[in-house]
Symmetry: C2
Subunit: 214 residues, 2 copies
C-alpha cells in the first residue's frame, strides 16, 4: 500500500476561492447517483478534494448545500426553456409553448439530479417548506417563462379567454407530471430516452393545447 493521503496536487485546483462551486458539482453528482441518501457534506468534501470540515466555511449545513444546488438547478431549467423557445423562432405561440414544454421535460431527463433536488429535495418535512427567498425567486422565474407565454397568447388572442394563472398551472402540471413519471421510470426505461420522450411530450402537450387555444 502506498501512502494513505491522496493529495500531492488536489483533483483540479480548488483551495483558492472556487471551492463553493466545486462542492455544488460534487453534491450534484452524489445526489444524482445515490439520491438524497447518497449526499453528505463529508462525501462532497472528499469528491472536491478537501477535508470534511472545509465545506462548513461555505455552507452552514447540509441543507444549505442542497438549497444551493436547487437554486442552480432552477436557473439552468429556466435557461433551457428559454433556449428551446428561442430555437423555435418567433413563430406561432402554440409552437413556442410546445418548445418550452420540451425544454422543461428534456431538462428533467438530462438532469434528474437537479430536477429532484429542485422539487422536494430537502424540505420534504411535513409542514410548510422553508424555502429561502433566493430559492423561491429562482422558482418563480422558471414558472414565469410559462406564465409569460400564456400571457402573450391571451394578449394576441391566440388562447381562449380564461384565468392566465389557471392556464399556466395546467401547463406546468402537465409537463411536470410527465417529467416526474419519466425520470422515475414509471413509463419504462425506454420512454425516457431522447426521441421517445420527445414524442411523448409532443403528444401529451397537444391534448392540453386543444383546451387552451382560441
Amino acid at each position: 500500500m502506498s501512502s494513505i493521503r491522496v493529495p500531492r496536487k488536489r483533483p483540479d485546483s480548488y483551495q483558492h476561492g472556487d471551492l463553493r462551486p466545486a462542492l455544488i458539482q460534487a453534491g450534484l453528482k452524489l445526489l444524482t447517483e445515490g439520491g438524497t441518501r447518497g449526499l453528505s457534506l463529508r462525501a462532497a468534501a472528499q469528491l472536491a478534494g478537501v477535508s470534511h470540515a472545509a465545506p462548513y466555511r461555505h455552507f452552514r449545513d447540509k441543507d444549505a448545500l442542497v438549497e444551493a444546488i436547487a437554486e442552480e438547478g432552477f436557473r439552468l431549467l429556466t435557461r433551457r426553456m428559454r433556449e428551446e423557445i428561442e430555437a423555435a423562432g418567433s413563430g406561432d405561440l402554440l409552437v413556442r409553448l410546445r418548445a418550452s414544454a420540451w425544454g422543461y421535460v428534456s431538462f428533467a431527463i438530462e438532469n434528474p439530479g437537479y430536477f429532484r433536488t429542485i422539487f422536494g429535495g430537502v424540505p420534504c418535512e411535513d409542514g410548510a417548506a422553508p424555502r429561502s427567498p433566493a430559492l423561491q425567486e429562482a422558482g418563480a422565474e422558471a414558472y414565469g417563462v410559462l406564465r409569460g407565454l400564456v400571457a402573450e397568447g391571451l394578449q394576441r388572442g391566440r388562447l381562449r379567454h380564461g384565468d392566465p394563472e389557471q392556464m399556466s398551472l395546467a401547463a406546468w402540471s402537465m409537463v411536470h407530471g410527465l417529467s416526474m413519471l419519466l425520470i422515475e421510470g414509471q413509463l419504462g426505461p425506454a420512454s425516457a430516452r431522447g426521441a421517445a420522450a420527445r414524442a411523448l411530450t409532443d403528444a401529451t402537450i397537444r391534448f392540453l393545447e386543444q383546451g387552451l387555444r382560441a
Copy 2:
C-alpha cells in the same frame, strides 16, 4: 428517572404476527415526518416497540420495507380513485374522469408520505429502477383506473378518437404533476388545503377535458 425499558405491555399488541403491518405503519410515519432521511429500520422498530433486530425477520433490508410501503400506498391510491368514481355515480364519463382526478390529487395531499414513497421513494438511483413485480403490478392497477375510463370514453364516443395510451398518459401527467406541485409546496401552503386544492384540480383538469372530449 424511571426504568429505561418502556415495555410492560407493548404499544399495541404486536409481538405475535402483526409486526409486519406495524412496521409499515411506523415506516410510513417516519417517512412522512422526516422524508427518506428520517426512515431507518431501527427507528421503525423502536416505533413499533420491538428491538432493532426484529424487523429483519420481516424485511430483508431497508429497501424491502420501503417497497412494502409503496405497494400498500399504490393499493390505497387505487381504492381512493375508485371510491371517488363510484361516488360520482354512473353519470357522464367526463364527470367520472374528473372524479378520478380528484381521487388522485386528494390522496396525494392527504398521504404525502405514501405518495412520495410510491413515486421514487427508493429506486432513485441513476440507472433503471429495480421495482419488484408486485410493486409494478400495484402501479399498473392504479394506472388502469384512468386507462379504463379513457377506454370507456372512447367506446361510448364520449372522447375524440385518439391513442388511448397517449390520452391516459396526458391525464396521468396532469394529475400527477399537480399533486407533486401541491405536496411539495410549490403552489404555496394554502393551495394544498382541501377546498382550494379541489378548485385547482377542477380548473386544471377542465383544460385537458377540452382536448379529450369528442
